[in-house]
Symmetry: C2
Subunit: 1003 residues, 2 copies
């Protein structure tokens, strides 16, 4: 396209000359020279003059003059202009660059641009954004100096008002979301290009990159569109990228739009007199690697000047990932430890302590972030070989580019010979000078062997994600080997997802760090934490089809956690969907060999992200989007919220009523104490489902007590309204009743006793009251522990509570539990009592897997805010299944405790161990192929309405086979173990199966 | 019958008068008085005068005169004659008894009669026997003295020659077996009576008792017949018996016969002026209790004079049994120990030692035979109550006597009130003054509650036997509770039989004691020993239908062990056969409630009694006589001798060839060392079955070695001839070969080495030789133990033998076994390798159970010395079953050791534990009712020829159900565990069963 003609350019120059003259800072005879120099030789596009006012232009010329005379007084043989000039609504940076570098401008990652990133671009939001223009002077400063000037103009955006709302169609219309100035001056061609870059960017989370060749020149224009703020330091990272391929930019623009889109466009030319390959290659290269840069903008391994030892972008990205990997896994305890371990035996204490000393010494000071980085930087050729070794496996073959123009790292690929594992191992051993460096680099080799698939070469990624084979984990440290590990690396976060069975479910948590030290602590223990939580979950899901899994995201200190979560999910999905991420043709290399699906749940810091994740999976066309997450909002996504239907409380109920039934107690006379108030899920549902005499409730707002039992009607009102007891109408308290709120002090009780401090009272209240039954429905973890359990017994040693059913998780510690049972309290642990929630989530998943999209939309999503008959039927079935499972387990535990009089918590974990090992056995056999047994079993797994709707056979067809097998094994094992106890014999298993197949509904 | 008229009595008297006068020791004027007094007033029967010569009669009269004048010089107011006069072929005892005793003769158990027992009757054998006549004088000594004389005449028997042989008909004809003198004088009536007493006695082992009333008087004649020497002190015990019922005897005769029968006949009258019940009662009583006296002749609890506190015979017998029971079981560690045990915990050592001290103190000095006896004698009324308590349960009700005349102890029975267990317990607690006595009497109460059936009231018993319920055993001492215990008490022995399963098999051993001290040691440990041996056997019979059992007999110091064994078996059979012991009408009380059968085997000191036991069971009409014992002679009783068919060696072979097959070794090149020579069962069969290069054999006669392998032909010759290697033709030794016999000293070996002492060399030889394979087929137990196992390794620690298969039992100790395996020797323990023998015995039993008598006689017993086709077929099947079982176990152990690389002996015991617990499970379920599975399994249990002969269904019908169930469970468990290893899963059990029933031969 030809340059925009600009009519009033010339007489605008005269105005400028006049204005400068009359304020007299520049000697008169120099004024005209300065103005024309500014207008013609700085290569400033007319667009600039068209947009700026004369007075601003004058300010720029004058301050430039000031910078000139300053430079002059340094008497260096090169005139060095260095202008930094910032005002409240704009900034100008003009500087020259010294001679001798191989190309006109570089120096350390350009300081000015990273300052511009830090202060302007990274801080731009829709409410205050800064647009940027930067030009490079064509001619020299003056005839005697071979100097170029580079000038940056920043100005505040004011967007077209009103800003359209995200769900209106104008939201993606460029004319309604851009800066007024830009709109009035932009050519229609620019607007056209920006428009479809924008709409593309809005349809996905990653960057959009377009390339155009400028008519009649060899100049190329790259336009990149992405979400505002989804990365940082991208602008200066781009400069390093194209510098690396020895290109320079004549003009660059950064535009922001009020719909959270940022568009960057670069005009690139080959550096004169460089031996680089033809520009098409470099341009092609830049576009391919821009996404890597997008993902890892400030990558310490990527230096812009292309010395021989410098890493290419992909190698730098690889080195970065290796760096992180090594921080977590560089085999921390190493062979030396293993070898030593076999010599010393761990039984006798003196040697065990030697072992322990060695362990601690190794761990602490060996592998700091810094020392790993130094090692990787001091063996560039090894890292390069390791990258080649990595790429040899994961570089997507086939997939023909339109024309096969090899990339630099590609030709590096063919230049570096590809080594086998052993050769690689030997090469590392020979080259590294000490054990420490050897282990760092060996970690990278382990990494290469552990990666089964990754989105490293997917251009549309927003973060790097790797599916790892857990075999690399040292058994000494991780006795139970996980089924699969996902490792995700983003610009400002890292994350793990670990699962112990192919079909597994677990929460995703975001780990926040208050300060740098705590970040180091969280970083060091990140993987161990995910591993242990996943393992705990594994034990807990014993009679569910899904095993345990867990994900954790560690954002860096000033990252936006929500955004980290979104990138985390998006890059996971990259690996779960078979090669059709939009806008990508070739498939990634997949060594897993079969389809994988993940089931994510809400956890610390992600409770409100589940809808988004499910929705996003749908947008990406994931067939399993419906079951991708649980805890989705019911109305829009057909989720089954635990608190609305009291799922967890239903299983708790089976234990409380079970106890009453066994001991022949009438519920209306049973006195109960409850922690967790009517505002909570468990608290409110416990109130609504029970008819007992609740004598005390303890919640976040205080304590309420009524020896005659709290007024039921009032409690129901609070429970329905989800209010705390601070809302309780105290006129309904009987004479001996009282309420103490946390903010009250010196409260006088009916007994005359003075409560000095409400908070104190509330924290200890659960240790003061006596009742038949205690159901903790909330409260801090470990509220009953080894050091205060004694206060639950009165002077003669009689317990305050005869029966305890643990609703809340971890309210009672294991030691306290043992102590309570030892002294005669009938107690059911949380692992058994509050399983309603996980069961409900599991069936929410099952529903998503069994229905097609239309059926799901029609049956599960609310029609104008009301649930369908199917939805209500499904919920009712879920509730029945929860009640039955809880009852079966309750009966089993009760029966076993009568027979063996072991403590119930011990029985509960014996049952779960027997159950887990049996269901593992069942998964390992082909019993599943036996149609009669399979159907007999799965007819109990699928909720009735689902079977009536689509039929059992169809349901089994639709769900993934791995899931069906797990469901089959889990149910059968549970059914058997709960009926026959943990020591059931082989023979009784045989009979159990025969009459199961005998009574199977003939298909 | 009228008295025998004796013509020449009168003139014989004159001859006596003349002879005495002419030798002048008696003043002439007194001679005639002495002779007539002797002839008429001593109540000597004419039969005596008819048999004795005049000169002997004179000797008797003169020596009587001498005794008279001696008595005279004592000037006591009663003339006391005391004549003991013994010659080489006769003896006379004449004495008077002092006044004032309530009846004419008693005093302490009559001294004279027990002297007569000790010196004459107990020592009578068919080669030299003493017959006895004893008379009681009718009138007084002289007019002035109220004295009676009692005279005993003993004379040597000379039997009618020739003595007929035991299997000829004359053997039971009285005219051919009696003493000549007796025959010529006995009346035909006497002969008739004695004849059918004799034939009756010959047909059973117990005593035969007949009663006759003497015509025209109230005198009763009792005739008792029994086996000569089958008891001792019976004659004097009988006197105490009838004295007890206040009867006196006018005449008594003891006759011996050359067919090992002794007949006693007593003429009994009521004592004048006693308040005893009418004589019929007493006589009836005497006949019933004679058998108890026969069983327990010298019973310290039975005193003849009937004071109020004296025991009746039955009570005395009961007290005697209680005495023995208390010696073994008086709950030795007691409640105090139990109570204390729960307070102290056994883990910390200081308290464990307190526990141990208490244990030892209790055991040693508390319950000596003597102190138990004193306790029982000091609480007669308690013992009486306990007896009543016992009789209340076991006195056979119903069974109408011809006319209901109650016995004394019977009326005692009704007089003493019968107490319940608690009342009895309290009564004991109140009456005993200290803990020690309380426990002795409590032991008797435990005994009463433990007896399920007994032959206490069976008149034909030869010993007392009790079937005990093992519940009385304290768990602390006997952790595994036996299924059943038999307790047998005889006149000169006691014995136990313990079994751990209803269907159990085990050996019977006779425990000999060299001297009194060792008798006490053996007596103290008798039960513990039987218990432990039975338990060991239980573990060994793991894949056989029969559990473990064991019997032990402890004869007293000078008893005849064989006779003890016979009584032991006979009284066991009393309890196994439902109430038709010959000559007995009413059935014994049976609290077991179902039929029991025992399977006895040969053991220390009973190997040659197995035929007799089986034969005897047949004579008593036991339907299971064929399977009562194993190790029967083949020819006459169809036994399957292990050594003829090399049963044990067959299983050993499967392990040796198994090793060769697995390691691909050619047998002809494998070098072998063997202990146990060609004269032994294992030794000879190992030679005949193998083709390897046997380089050394060590046996009772010495050592033979040939580095080139001993000449096969010669070995075969020795093996067939069952000769030791002392018979080896040494010309067939190669140059480097040699032989050292035990009696040789200073033998020079080809290597030049001198062997100083043959015995020494032989004992250590198995530690000197090197070979691929070592098969111990004999030798002392524990020949390889912890302290010499190191000598089986050469200087570099390489083992002398690469493979060891243990043929002989206990040749290698457990510690040595572990050590050998730890250092790389492939070793198979005896518990696995030499099972051929027990399997063969088990199938010998099965055969006996499945065939009827005729079939058994026709198919298994040899026709004129040759086995039938069926017998040979059966033996072949047994051999195949042995080979298969051994191979299955071998494969299982080999497979497991490859998989787990645990030592083989450990695998072997893991397999057996898994196998035992599975087969116990199987016995507890009703899987047996599933006909298809049952037949599928049992078709592998019954040898083929048996199935073809009588058909599977019939075979199952015929064997006892308990046995069938055990066989079913044992086979199925073995088949499953050997195929799937000790940790097999529930599911694989299910599949194992389904394809078992799928492949079952459809009946």
């Amino acid at each position: 396209m030809q340059k925009t003609t600009f009519a009033g350019k010339q007489e605008q120059a005269e105005q400028a000359i006049a204005k400068i003259r009359e304020n007299g800072f520049i000697p008169a005879e120099l004024v005209e020279g300065e103005v024309t120099w500014f207008y013609d030789n700085l290569g400033i596009d007319n667009q600039y003059f068209a947009m700026e006012s004369v007075s601003t232009i004058c300010d720029h010329i004058i301050s430039l003059y000031g910078a000139k005379i300053l430079a002059y007084t340094k008497h260096s043989d090169s005139l060095e202009i260095d202008l930094e000039h910032a005002t409240s609504n704009g900034a100008v940076f003009i500087h020259s660059s010294p001679p001798g570098a191989s190309d006109p401008d570089s120096g350390a990652k350009p300081r000015y641009e990273s300052v511009i990133d830090e202060k302007y671009i990274d801080k731009s939001t829709t409410s205050s954004a800064w647009r940027l223009e930067t030009y490079r002077s064509k001619g020299n400063v003056s005839s005697s100096l071979p100097q170029r000037l580079r000038c940056y103009f920043l100005s505040k955006c004011n967007f077209v008002q009103p800003v359209p709302s995200p769900d209106s169609p104008e939201y993606s219309d460029i004319r309604r979301v851009s800066d007024a100035g830009f709109l009035s001056k932009a050519s229609s061609n620019t607007l056209e290009i920006y428009q479809d870059v924008m709409s593309e960017a809005l349809s996905r989370t990653g960057p959009v990159i377009e390339v155009f060749q400028v008519e009649g020149t060899r100049e190329h224009r790259i336009v990149i569109g992405y979400r505002m703020g989804s990365t940082h330091g991208f602008f200066s990272a781009l400069s390093s990228l194209y510098h690396y391929y020895s290109l320079f930019s004549s003009r660059k623009y950064v535009e922001h739009f009020s719909n959270d889109v940022t568009i960057v466009s670069l005009y690139l030319n080959p550096l004169p007199g460089s031996k680089a390959p033809p520009i098409e290659h470099s341009i092609h290269q830049v576009t391919r690697e821009a996404s890597l840069v997008y993902c890892l903008p400030d990558n310490p391994f990527f230096k812009a000047e292309a010395t021989e030892s410098a890493y290419a972008v992909q190698e730098a990205a690889y080195a970065y990932v290796g760096w992180l990997f090594a921080q977590h896994f560089c085999n921390r305890l190493g062979q030396a430890y293993q070898a030593l371990r076999n010599v010393l035996d761990e039984t006798n204490l003196q040697q065990a302590s030697i072992l322990n000393d060695i362990k601690l010494r190794f761990r602490e000071e060996t592998f700091t972030r810094q020392s790993i980085q130094e090692t990787l930087q001091s063996y560039p050729e090894l890292v390069r070989l390791l990258y080649v070794h990595f790429a040899a496996i994961h570089y997507p073959k086939g997939g023909d580019d339109d024309d096969l123009i090899p990339t630099l790292s590609y030709q590096r690929l063919v230049k570096e010979e590809i080594l086998t594992d052993e050769q690689m191992y030997d090469r590392i051993r020979k080259t590294t000078v000490n054990q420490h460096e050897f282990q760092v680099l060996e970690a990278l080799l382990l990494f290469n062997k552990a990666v089964l698939k990754c989105n490293f070469y997917t251009p549309t990624k927003v973060a790097l994600s790797f599916r790892l084979d857990a075999k690399f984990l040292p058994e000494a440290e991780y006795p139970v080997r996980p089924f699969g590990i996902f490792f995700v690396v983003g610009s400002d976060f890292r994350g793990f997802h670990v699962r112990f069975k192919d079909v597994a479910r677990g929460g995703i948590r975001v780990v926040r760090s208050r300060n740098r030290e705590l970040y180091s602590v969280n970083q060091r223990g990140l993987f161990d934490e995910v591993y242990n939580l996943a393992l705990t979950q594994q034990k807990k899901n014993k009679d569910l089809p899904e095993g345990g899994s867990k994900g954790a995201i560690l954002p860096s200190l000033d990252a936006n956690p929500r955004l980290c979560f979104e990138k985390f999910c998006d890059s996971l999905i990259d690996l779960l969907l078979e090669g059709q991420s939009p806008g990508v043709k070739e498939k990634i290399v997949d060594l897993v060999g079969k389809e994988e699906i993940l089931f994510l749940g809400p956890d610390e810091g992600t409770a409100d992200c589940m809808d988004w994740a499910a929705g996003h999976a749908r947008e990406r066309g994931a067939p399993w989007w419906k079951s991708f997450t649980t805890g989705k909002t019911a109305a829009t996504l057909g989720g089954i919220p635990h608190d609305v239907w009291g799922m967890t409380s239903l299983s708790v109920r089976q234990y409380t009523t079970g106890i009453m039934r066994k001991l022949g107690l009438k519920e209306e006379e049973v006195t109960k104490v409850q922690t967790g108030g009517p505002d909570g899920d468990l608290g409110s549902n416990e109130i609504l489902l029970s008819t007992d005499k609740t004598v005390a409730i303890i919640d976040g707002s205080g304590v309420i007590h009524d020896p005659q039992g709290l007024d039921r009607e009032e409690l129901t009102r609070l429970a329905r309204g989800r209010k705390m007891i601070s809302d309780f109408d105290i006129s309904r308290l009987s004479k001996g009743g009282y309420r103490v709120l946390v903010e009250e002090n010196d409260v006088k009780l009916p007994s005359g006793e003075i409560i000095p401090d409400g908070v104190q009272f509330r924290n200890q209240a659960h240790l003061l009251f006596k009742a038949d039954l205690f159901v903790p429905c909330g409260g801090r973890p470990e509220s009953i522990n080894i050091s205060n359990v004694n206060r639950l017994f009165d002077a003669e040693g009689k317990p305050h509570f005869k029966y305890v059913v643990e609703g809340a998780n971890l309210f009672v510690t294991k030691q306290a539990r043992t102590e309570l049972e030892r002294r005669g309290v009938i107690l059911y642990p949380d692992a058994s009592a509050n399983k309603g929630g996980v069961t409900s989530s599991s069936l929410e998943v099952l529903c998503g897997l069994s229905l097609s999209d239309e059926e799901y939309q029609e049956l599960m999503v609310f029609k104008d805010g009301k649930p369908s008959k199917f939805y209500l039927g499904y919920v009712r079935d879920v509730q029945n299944i929860i009640a039955q499972n809880a009852r079966k387990e309750f009966e089993a535990i009760w029966r076993e405790s009568q027979a063996t009089s072991l403590p119930r918590s011990l029985i509960s974990s014996q049952l779960s161990d027997a159950l887990n090992s049996l269901s593992e056995e069942l998964e390992g056999t082909n019993l599943f192929q036996n149609v009669t047994i399979r159907n007999a079993v799965l007819s109990h797994v699928f909720p009735g309405v689902l079977q009536r709707k689509i039929g059992l056979e169809a349901a089994i067809e639709r769900i993934p086979e791995a899931y069906a097998k797990s469901a089959f094994a889990a149910w059968l094992a549970a059914d058997f173990v709960y009926k026959n106890g943990p020591q059931a014999s082989h023979v009784s298993f045989y009979q159990h199966l025969t009459n199961l197949s005998a009574s199977a509904p003939t298909s």
